[in-house]
Subunit: 799 residues, 2 copies
């Protein structure tokens, strides 16, 4: 498979240099796992030189180091702008070692200096209390990817490459990770990469053969099957296989030259075709190329102990973590460790002061060309603000509240269209084939869906440089966006609300990344991860129960309060205001839940801005008192707001002397105490709004327990009664959906009646009437197959 | 690709029959989407015959119906035991139509009778309030798979095939679904299928070309690339392509004959090899076969309207849902609908009473051979109880509480080993390469890891018929287990706690399935879905922050209370008792969180059984009073229990007159009110335990808010103070982890001091001492890289 005539030939001296650099990285990796002291092995290893707790993953590390060293050569030779994404992120020692060799590590952590003392600190801190994590982590210079939860390396790599036409993203995919679903789907990202305006991804599938205890599937299928798989994924595979370092160095160097030539040729062809086409007045897109990829098959734990206590280690699953486990207590193990470390010939690699010898230093690129210092790996440094249209220009005119209607996401679509127009190189909209379904089609006035596979007549807005990315994989949407954000760009993920749970675990990892970067001074803030969740639980009545789940909010608020924001704008203008705010924010995870169906509008743009700025507030026109109320009706979410207002209208008609206050909540985090969340409302203000002793009927978009969880410390919590989704649903009408979950206006009125003691005999009459209205509504629905227009056509009456 | 000489040739009469059956199913599908009345088109369609809300997905339906009809022929011809898994589950009308044609529908729903009246009911109920959902759903006879959330068809199919050697699972994979991560990984399930003891899966990749608004990736790559992909996945692809029904019928019939012959040959070879080998005293495993699969390329919305209002529909993404949208109001649309329905020539298909004509009825198999009536699709009917060893036999002996130690999952491993021995055909243990890491290695005393790919010397317990299924994909583990359970077997999924979030959304769908089946009388209960979550948040200190997340509990308890159970056994014997209970249960999702590291043991087996039966209770030996306490220390989870007991010990020493009650919670749902959960403790009992006014310091395994969420209605909730995981972590020592999150014993003592007003001046002294102990503990850890043995070696002192 390997092209026999590489474009360049690497000299023996080049290969020796690479080998030396590789040995240096391996030496530093082993040192990190094992040593507290004696970093240059100036004296024989003693027990006290060795850590008590040995934590780290050796198995994948020599392969990671090998690729790093080889990449250094080609970066220098070709002046490449390259990023290194480490799928096997548990191979932390390797990436830290390379950042140290490149001097980047000492630049950002001066205490880990480039001398013996610094090397001692480097070794000691690894997996050590108060030190650094065992994985490639936010603390690791050059990383945008943790790799602790496997599956997302390749999709992150593609996200980084989009709109970075000069960037080469090397992505190491472990053969364990390759078994995950997200990774298996990620290979197809090449159908969404534009060779003209995007950079290149060079995947390296590293077959070291084993996971923790099992062989890896892709390492145990015949090579022709694996080659077919890669060709089927649309790649041209190049195999590098061996366990003799010199031989593998030769193969890998030659292969890298070949594949980089190929990548350059693909890009040149595509870019020339565009330029030529442009000069003739029409671009001629080139057919999708088979991008090269490398299959690197080397032993797990390569160059480590072949056997320990008579059991084979190198080349088996036993090399996954720490090969020698008793180096502090067992002199035999310790001697074997010392032989292992000395096998890298550290005296050739480091000078007397502990510095890498100059001839090896020369292999590494300088400045921003160092993969550990590439600014794309610290995307906040490259982040440019979005050029924002004025969201007020998209305002829906409001004559009187709750009388006109519009599609909130439909209105937002116009705003997003103009964000796209003004930011052609730094904003993408992701969605799993749902952008049109979610009523954001206005974006297609100006852009297309990114698509580099074949097209047919009748296709709808497909083009290689589209700003909208649609694939039927929430994992890919999320991963692409993460990679895009982490390299300093902006975006929104629009998704059916129920299915955003598919990426729960990816959100966890991104939240952890953000939380950690907040305390790393050299990491610059990045754009927030923005979710627009629509086609939500109350309006998936057509697809039914499987599409109904509002629990993502519950999931995200377990993350650190300083990271998470949740917004439930009730109408179009509030959605515009919230979206503008989120797009300008940094380092957050913003969850916006909004409706797509035509729905009542409530607030003028000025009112909406004011309301969203406060995050929650009284809607005086909807209530019946400016003073102390008898009951508070609170709501969050578009459908609960509608039902609450209709209930308020019913109460106004039926119980005109009942003093009702209506509160709408946009920023859900306002409900928490200020000690729990930066947006938390002070208790005094909360009590002023929700009273300290009146019944509060809270109609909520999601699971009711969430509101209790946020408010249990509040004074009036004992009087708080929450209605929301209680996991009842099917294919039925919108109003039947709210009735199934007791969130409908009639039930809210009943809830009020049941909790306001002063109503006397009127209560029983009204309760009976409301119960009859519910029965009648259901009967109408069952008979006609649609809701009673007398209900669904409700607007706020002129009085 | 299609073999030109199929083993059998289908006659023209056969094909006509299949075509007629297909037309009947298509007719009934369209009728369900559109009609309220006039089901046999006895009169011209009028507005009132048509539904007002048109909901359903036509696009995929003709393809589903085509496969169903063709399967019917081969089932009858070969007496196949076949199951039909519908990846595009939104094609509900098709599967309902076929169940109706096979009479199964009327058997389970007598109101939908086999006559004109029944057909009217069939049409009306579809996507109609009070009727049935629009998708293939639990309500659909013959289904084990909803398909609303795409991605899990193929993994469910494999799960169904395991240990069902006579079963053939036809699995339709939509080309949209094929883009998802879980589906992309599922193809590799063939490396885990044993042709001797498992059944066969026949995947049909249905390329109808489009998703909701986009083309599908696999429909837009060259056919040789797609063929390579399938060969790379280990399959032999067979292509059936066309838009002329007669031609496609011929191709598909011939292809089905070929692939079924191939499947039979693969199974015969493997099974004969085993029999031959057995007779010679050694089995000779055959090399992994390339199982056949079919790529079926037909137009989306095939046989539906070619154009509507001048716009092409058939063969485009516009055919996804309802092709004619205004059939009630637009006479042109209505006439087109009528022409469309009459194009199936219903008068040839149904007799005057509305029954399928006998010659078409003859195509369908009978009894349990009908795919809609296959008992495997109603797995509870086939469910046989596990033969259970007596869990008491595995008890860890307890001399005094909190003095000895053992690995809870290690002990459980012995029990599971014997469950496996006694149930060789109906129990599997799933895990993403973590079974050994999770200390369940005792199972390998008796079984292996299922593995049908190549093996090498040094591999650890791999065999085609292994009962342990390990792959580095939580999605596959979950999906295989779901398929296995839904077809009437048993299993446990053991997983790192943090990464079980990867399957959050799959859990949602399974919970919804279980919830729905509870109200379907003909669905028999299935075995519960059992999670063993270990390597948990408090003991992932080696991998660090990315591996630390206890939020899965929060996720599952949003599901219906009657479905969800959560257990936090604090030691080995309680884990045994809980596991035995869960393995015997039905229709639940049981989440067990338990430690794998050696940890203190507390309860004798009799005490453990009693404690687990109550679900929570006082541990009198740990407290200092039998009467009313001054403070309650509550705990749930192994590490919080340890810290709580150590805190109780400190309080006993330092404040001997403080009356302390210690409560341990195993069954988390006991904390909820009985109105919220079937396990909920009555308020009276809760108050008796937790008092109505004393401070309660609750040390919890997970996020603290969860305990508040469960208890906010309890009398003493205002005095409840919860410590748990607050999203702080890294690579550090176990005790540093609890300190980072203020869950450590010293901090618990400080929490007591801060909340018991009567301590006077002793409080300040003791608080100071505890703060110093924390500082000393941290200093020791930072200096030595391990915890202070004086802390970690703590046991309950003899007094």
């Amino acid at each position: 498979m390997l092209d026999p005539t590489p474009a360049r030939t690497c000299t023996r001296a080049d290969l020796d240099l690479i080998d030396g650099y590789w040995r240096a990285a391996n030496y530093l990796s082993v040192g990190q796992i094992y040593l507290l002291d004696n970093p240059l092995l100036r004296e024989p290893l003693r027990a006290e030189h060795v850590k008590r707790r040995l934590l780290g993953h050796w198995g994948t590390t020599p392969g990671l180091n090998l690729l790093y060293a080889h990449m250094n050569r080609v970066i220098k030779e070709r002046d490449l702008n390259a990023l290194y994404v480490t799928g096997p992120g548990h191979g932390g020692p390797g990436l830290v070692a390379n950042a140290y060799l490149e001097r980047t590590y000492s630049e950002v952590y001066p205490a880990v200096s480039r001398d013996e003392e610094g090397m001692r600190a480097l070794f000691r801190q690894f997996s050590f209390p108060g030190g650094i994590p065992s994985h490639v982590a936010p603390e690791t210079p050059g990383s945008i990817h943790e790799g602790g939860e496997l599956g997302y390396a390749l999709v992150h790599a593609y996200g980084a490459a989009f709109d970075n036409p000069d960037l080469l993203v090397l992505c190491v995919v472990g053969d364990g990770e390759a078994e995950t679903g997200p990774l298996a789907a990620s290979w197809h990202s090449n159908k969404f990469l534009n060779p003209v305006t995007d950079g290149a991804v060079l995947p390296v599938l590293h077959l070291n053969g084993y996971k923790i205890a099992n062989p890896a599937v892709l390492a145990r299928i015949p090579q022709d099957e694996l080659a077919a798989l890669m060709r089927g994924y649309g790649y041209a595979p190049h195999f590098v296989t061996g366990d003799d370092p010199a031989d593998v160095h030769r193969q890998l160097a030659a292969t890298l030259d070949v594949v980089l030539d190929k990548i350059a040729a693909i890009q040149d062809d595509a870019r020339r075709a565009r330029t030529d086409g442009a000069s003739r007045g029409a671009a001629t897109p080139t057919p999708r190329a088979a991008w090269p990829m490398i299959v690197l098959r080397t032993p797990k734990g390569w160059t480590g102990p072949k056997q320990v206590d008579g059991v084979q280690i190198e080349g088996t699953w036993r090399a996954h973590q720490v090969p020698l486990t008793a180096t502090r207590t067992d002199i035999g193990h310790r001697e074997q460790l010392e032989r292992w470390m000395r096998s890298y010939r550290p005296e050739e690699l480091f000078d007397a002061t502990g510095q890498l010898v100059p001839q090896l230093q020369a292999l590494a690129p300088a400045g921003n060309r160092r993969m550990s210092a590439n600014p794309h790996a610290n995307g906040g440094r490259l982040l440019r603000d979005l050029v924002m249209p004025d969201f007020r220009d998209y305002a829906v005119p409001i004559d009187r509240p709750a009388t006109g209607s519009s599609s909130a996401t439909g209105v937002l679509g116009g705003f997003l269209r103009d964000v796209i127009i003004r930011n052609p190189d730094r904003f993408r909209l992701m969605g799993p084939d749902e952008t049109a379904s979610n009523r954001l089609s206005a974006v297609f006035d100006t852009t297309d869906r990114a698509w580099d596979a074949a097209t047919l007549p009748g296709d709808d807005h497909l083009a290689p440089d589209g700003r909208v990315m649609e694939v039927l994989s929430e994992h890919l949407c999320q991963g692409w966006l993460e990679g895009y954000l982490l390299t300093g760009r902006h975006g929104v993920f629009n998704c059916y609300e129920a299915f955003i749970h598919i990426v729960d675990s990816m959100v966890n990892q991104h939240a952890k990344w953000l939380k950690t970067t907040r305390s790393i001074p050299w990491r610059a803030p990045i754009a927030s991860l923005n979710y627009l969740l629509t086609s939500h639980v109350w309006r998936q009545d057509n697809n039914g129960f499987s599409h109904q789940d509002p629990g993502f909010i519950d999931h995200v608020i377990n993350k650190k309060a300083e990271i998470v924001r949740v917004y439930l704008p009730p109408d179009s203008n509030t959605l515009l205001s919230v979206a503008d705010h989120c797009l300008r924010s940094r380092d957050y995870i913003n969850v916006i839940v909004a409706g797509k169906q035509p729905a009542l509008t409530y607030l003028t743009m000025d009112e909406a801005i004011d309301h969203c700025t406060r995050g929650l507030g009284v809607w005086p026109w909807a209530g019946t008192t400016d003073g102390e109320p008898d009951v508070v009706l609170a709501c969050a979410g578009d459908i609960p707001t509608l039902e609450t207002l209709a209930a308020a209208d019913l109460l106004r008609s039926c119980l005109p002397d009942l003093k009702v206050r209506v509160i709408n909540v946009v920023d859900l985090m306002r409900l928490q105490p200020e000690t729990e969340h930066p947006h938390g409302l002070p208790d005094r203000e909360f009590d002023a709004l929700f009273t300290s002793d009146k019944p509060v009927i809270f109609a909520f978009h999601g699971y009711p327990a969430l509101v209790h969880r946020l408010t249990y410390r509040r004074t009036n919590h004992p009087n708080l009664h929450v209605r929301g989704y209680k996991e009842e649903g099917t294919t039925t009408t919108p109003f039947d959906m709210v009735m199934l979950n007791d969130l409908d206006r009639f039930h809210l009125v009943i809830d009020v009646i049941d909790r306001v003691p002063s109503l006397g005999s009127r209560a029983a009459v009204l309760r009976q009437r409301m119960a009859e209205r519910r029965l009648a509504a259901r009967a109408h629905t069952r008979q006609h197959g649609e809701d009673d227009p007398a209900i669904t056509g409700w607007t706020w009456p002129a009085r």
